[in-house]
Symmetry: C2
Subunit: 204 residues, 2 copies
């Protein structure tokens, strides 16, 4: 792709992400995106075919950042449960602060009103959490009764509900504190023979 076309696509995608995050999908028109980006609506149809196409591109752009976001949490020198907790804070921060991530979460919440199949991030998160729990088993940090895959599934859903409901009810500024409360309730069940409060405070 030529440099200029790439710049146009990027500016359309960023304008759309801002507007979807702020106003939702139904509340954002192609004209709004054109006005915010300073590009013509013709450019939107040329590069993304439709508003649905742009929504899908925003969601895919969010997934493209996942490997870079997750990479720091593969360091084997750090205990796996500590990495799991730290990764959850990283995702919570992205959900509270990063425009494309916020837009992705809102588009997913509004998925029934969007005429496109939007992929969700839960499989990626669950795979990452399963791997970290399995590593914690190997290193002897995981409680005996914990099954990594089933537990990862439960953790991801409760975590996402906690973050999104906290933001809806209180705003984004308290998400980190509530996440600490949640880990305080949850982490002791995962751990074998370490101090849960210490693991949460080190990772936060």
């Amino acid at each position: 792709m030529q440099e200029r076309a790439r710049a146009t696509r990027r500016s359309l995608l960023e304008a759309a992400a801002c507007l979807f995050a702020e106003q939702g999908y139904a509340g954002t028109s192609v004209n709004d995106i054109s006005a915010r980006s300073g590009r013509t609506s013709g450019a939107i149809y040329f590069h993304y075919a439709s508003k649905e196409g742009l929504a899908l591109a925003v969601v895919k752009d969010r997934f493209a950042t996942w490997p870079a976001l997750a990479a720091p949490y593969t360091d084997p020198a750090v205990p796996p449960l500590e990495r799991l907790v730290a990764l959850s804070y990283e995702i919570a921060r992205a959900l509270a602060e990063d425009t494309v991530t916020r837009a992705g979460a809102r588009l997913w919440a509004e998925r029934d009103t969007i005429d496109a199949q939007l992929p969700d991030p839960f499989a990626l998160w669950t795979t990452a959490a399963t791997r970290l729990l399995a590593q914690a088993r190997t290193t002897g940090h995981l409680a005996h009764h914990v099954r990594p895959a089933a537990t990862a599934r439960t953790l991801v859903r409760a975590f996402f509900g906690l973050c999104t409901l906290t933001e809806a009810l209180e705003g984004p500024q308290t998400v980190t504190d509530r996440l600490t409360d949640w880990w305080g309730l949850t982490l002791p069940s995962l751990q074998r023979g370490t101090d849960p409060a210490e693991a949460v405070s080190r990772a936060a």
Copy 2:
């Protein structure tokens, strides 16, 4: 209100709840509700003023059932944490099976697209959970570090996320099993000196 007017209001409300639960708010027209209920759209405007008015009435109808739903869980003969777990299964069942509850949850998820202030159930649930945790403190069943109000807030959000995401990703039939997984991770942190697995299986 006369008997006939009450019957009309009820049939409109039930038709609207079904359609909101199935198709969402934006996907349901006043004409759809008229067709489903067998009443005229004039009756809708006469009794509820607007589609927003009907949405609000559905949500309020859901709250009206709360005291009856919560009442069985006030029995002081049953340990408070066991009542908390049992109440969560009751709410999860309503979220999975009861039309008005399902409609209320979906309308809340779509609240940004609805031109009305829809109350949410989280304050009611959190108050009930706080009371049960405080009772567990009194009866000596609550772990020392647990603060009832903050913990109730965390539990309600994680619980709701677990139920709604499970339904979205897997359908309603697995919600009860996933809730059991979640309590298995969460209940041990609340309890002082009882067997968590036993409390979950008794209450389910």
